[in-house]
Each structure stands twice: as structure tokens, then as C-alpha cells.
């Protein structure tokens, strides 16, 4: 032990530890800090390649099935070789945009940025994920994120090339919501108890609420953070939160948020930030 103290290694160790503590405080308090942006940029390419490789990955297929598919693809490849080099890229992009076309038709004021889930972290129990678009595509923190059938979450952090999506399964969601049938209002907030079943909670309901199974829950749009009438999901059950001493409705989103891949970020819409601006 004496040798360790005399060797100078302990000084290196303590210096490094001090730097790490300072970096920890810095990264915790500074949004879009240089440390996380640098690591995200470094790992961006890696994640892009692995996500693309996963797309081609076959889920539990046998050798014969794989061989059969390989032969068919080999044949098809020969036929397609003569076509344009970027055919598949265009087709894929088209398919992704098509999913959101109907939504765009209904809401002409929405500005969409289509994106794809790049990676999901195994440590996050609320299924947040990172998408392949960032501030360079006009995405900013707080922007709503849509799936094909409804609201998925919001942008919690964004850097130049990537952005992290916090889902409506997270307790941090805090989205103002309304029952379209009864006009009862509440807050959408996730819970560790329901997140792994792809359910969220329509919480803080009044004791005399009229919410019932099958009701559709949408955003209220009153804060100016989310557009009005974005579909969140359908009421599956009603419960009472003893911790919070209020009623809640268990909401089943129309998307499986745990597995969603293609999303669209709403970067601007009519009325965005109106309340925020008026309260300043």
C-alpha cells in the first residue's frame, strides 16, 4: 500500500476523479454540452450502421428459410441491377413519408421532419430512444414526436445530428390531455408499473370524472407545446392512485411505443408557444 502512495499513481487517480466529478457537474447542468455532443457524434456512425444491419436481420429464421430467401434475393438483385442506384433509398423514404401524409393533409400547418429510431438504450425502462435527426434538421427540445397513429412523446435532448425522444410512457411526460367524449381533463404521465406493457396513465382526474373504457384521449393544446387534438390512445381501465390520492385512467396508445421505428417530429404548428409567449 505504501508503494502505491509513493508511486504517484494515487495522485493521477485523484486528479482524474476530480476531473470526472467536475465533468459530471458540468454535463448535468449544461444542456447540449460539448461532452455528450462529442460522444454522440462519435457513436452516431456506429449506431447508424448497426441499426441498418438490424433492419436486414432475420428474426429467428431457419437455415433453409434463409437459403430460400437468399436465392430469391440473389435472383431479384440481378434483375434490379439495371435500375437506378438510389431506387431503394427513394422507395424507403417514400414509404416513411406516406405514413404521415394523411396527418399532413389534415393539418396543413404542421411542419414534419420524418426520422428513424437509431438506438434504444437498455438502461432506460421507459423506452426512450435516439433518432437520426437533430438540430441541423430544425428539431429542438420539446418538439412533439408522432407515430403513424398518434403521439409518441417529445424531444428531450437534441444535438446536431441526433435527438433523444422521451416517450409518453415516461413519468416525465406531463402532457395536458382531454377525454374527447366526456371533456374530462388530466395529465398524461407514465409509470414504471405500466411502461413495459405499453400503457400510460391519464392522471389527476377529478373525483367526479366521467371517463370510461373505450374513450379516446387527445392533447388539449392549451399550453402551446403540443398541437390540439393529437391522439394519444384509448382508455382501457380506470384506477385509483393511493400515492397521489386521485383517479387515473389506464391508456393504451395506438402504437407499440416499445418497438416503434419510424416517427415524425412536429417542428412547427399554428399556435405553437402562444401561451408560453403570453405568460412571459
Amino acid at each position: 500500500m505504501k508503494e502505491l502512495w509513493e508511486s504517484g499513481k494515487i495522485k493521477i487517480f485523484l486528479s482524474v476523479l476530480l476531473v470526472l466529478v467536475m465533468l459530471s457537474l458540468f454535463t448535468r447542468n449544461v444542456e447540449n454540452n460539448v461532452v455528450s455532443s462529442s460522444v454522440n457524434t462519435l457513436t452516431y456512425g456506429l449506431s447508424k450502421v448497426s441499426a441498418a444491419a438490424k433492419d436486414k436481420h432475420t428474426d429467428g429464421m431457419s437455415y433453409d428459410e434463409l437459403k430460400e430467401e437468399y436465392d430469391a434475393l440473389y435472383k431479384a438483385n440481378r434483375e434490379l441491377r439495371a435500375r437506378l442506384v438510389d431506387y431503394y433509398d427513394v422507395k424507403e423514404e417514400n414509404a416513411r413519408l406516406w405514413k404521415f401524409y394523411e396527418l399532413k393533409k389534415e393539418h396543413k400547418d404542421y411542419q414534419f421532419v420524418p426520422a428513424t429510431a437509431l438506438r434504444r438504450d437498455s438502461n432506460d425502462e421507459f423506452y426512450s430512444f435516439t433518432i437520426d435527426k437533430g438540430t441541423s434538421s430544425d428539431i429542438s427540445t420539446g418538439d412533439p414526436v408522432m407515430g403513424e397513429n398518434g403521439l409518441i412523446g417529445y424531444i428531450s435532448e437534441a444535438d446536431a445530428n441526433t435527438a433523444r425522444v422521451a416517450t409518453i410512457l415516461s413519468p416525465q411526460a406531463g402532457i395536458g390531455a382531454v377525454d374527447k367524449a366526456t371533456k374530462d381533463t388530466g395529465i398524461i404521465t407514465g409509470s414504471a408499473k405500466f411502461a413495459d406493457k405499453n400503457r400510460t396513465m391519464f392522471a389527476k382526474l377529478k373525483s367526479e370524472h366521467k371517463v370510461k373504457k373505450g374513450d379516446i384521449i387527445t392533447t388539449t393544446g392549451v399550453s402551446g407545446i403540443y398541437p390540439k387534438n393529437l391522439i394519444i390512445g384509448e382508455v382501457e381501465d380506470i384506477g385509483y392512485d393511493t400515492y397521489d390520492t386521485s383517479y387515473y385512467a389506464l391508456v393504451k396508445p395506438y402504437e407499440d411505443i416499445r418497438k416503434i421505428k419510424d416517427v415524425a417530429v412536429i417542428t412547427s404548428f399554428d399556435g405553437q408557444g402562444e401561451i408560453l409567449r403570453s405568460t412571459k
Partner: protein, 171 residues
């Protein structure tokens, strides 16, 4: 190969291992979720590499893995980076000077460190943060992740032992 060259190749092997396991852990849908959780593979790498390396290299490997784990689920470095830096430094020193680095010692040390780090993560990230249903999270996710991480550290221990024996120095 001389000592410097073998050392370089060994660290290159660790780097490849970290990249490979990072990709395995972070690619959506690549690893199956067992009881609602996946193992934290980079934690296994840091813990197993530390037992074969000296203090400073062990600490650096711990920091690299810790940064990747922390930034994987938040925007800041924290518990895993600092925790692994401390643990890997201590283990690197102990394995070279105080205890014999053998499999049984490793099992005991991996059990204590995996359990300890995840319990701290749970306490700071959930209990202290006031998440109301933190016990559900512990039972349905964290417990499974702890067990999986501990179990997977065993094959990774043998992989790193192989790397060390093939490319280690004769100190």
C-alpha cells in the same frame, strides 16, 4: 512481438470488444429482453478487464465504459463513470498486489460490484428522485438486469483472460 507491441494489440482488442458490446447493447431489438431488461454489457467488460490490468489502464477502461453507459441513457456523465473509475483502479491495484486474481475471487468481486453499482443507480435514480413506483421498477427490471449482467460477466471474464494470456506481459 516485443512488450510494447503486445500491449498495443491487447488494448486494441479491448477497444474492439467495447465497440462490439456497445453495438450489441444499443442496437434496437438485437438482444432479447429477459424479464423486462437487458444486461449492461459494458459493465462486464470494465469489471473483467480491470482484474487483469494495472491500476491506470484499468481505470481508463472503466471510464470509457462508464461514459458510454451514462451517456446511453442521459445527457450527462455520472454514477457509472465515476463508480467504474474508482472500482477499476482499486481492483487493478488489488489484483496485482494484494489478492490472487483467480475465478472465485472474480465471482465474489463481480457479485459485489454489480450489485453495489446497480443499487446506487436505483437509490439515486429512483428512490431519491421520488419515483412513486420505484419498487415495481426494481422487481420488474433492475433485478433481472443485475442477474443478467453478473452472469454475462463470466464468459467475458474468460474472454479477457484469454486476451491477457495471449497478449499479456510477463511482469
Amino acid at each position: 512481438m516485443n512488450e510494447r507491441a503486445t500491449g498495443f494489440v491487447r488494448y486494441l482488442a479491448y477497444a474492439m470488444e467495447i465497440i462490439l458490446l456497445y453495438v450489441l447493447g444499443s442496437t434496437p431489438g438485437l438482444l432479447p429482453e429477459i424479464f423486462g431488461a437487458k444486461p449492461t454489457l459494458l459493465l462486464c467488460v470494465a469489471l473483467t478487464a480491470a482484474i487483469f490490468e494495472r491500476e491506470i489502464p484499468a481505470m481508463i477502461i472503466g471510464i470509457v465504459c462508464g461514459v458510454l453507459i451514462d451517456l446511453g441513457h442521459s445527457n450527462s456523465i455520472g454514477l457509472f463513470t465515476i463508480g467504474l473509475a474508482i472500482i477499476c483502479f482499486i481492483v487493478g491495484y488489488a489484483a496485482n498486489n494484494l489478492v490472487v486474481a483467480k475465478f472465485t475471487t472474480f465471482l465474489l468481486y463481480a457479485f459485489v460490484t454489480v450489485g453495489g453499482l446497480f443499487m446506487l443507480y436505483y437509490l439515486f435514480g429512483f428512490v431519491w428522485a421520488g419515483v412513486s413506483d420505484h419498487w415495481d421498477y426494481f422487481m420488474n427490471h433492475l433485478l433481472s438486469r443485475m442477474v443478467q449482467t453478473f452472469l454475462l460477466s463470466i464468459p467475458i471474464y474468460f474472454l479477457n483472460r484469454f486476451i491477457y494470456h495471449m497478449l499479456g506481459t510477463d511482469e
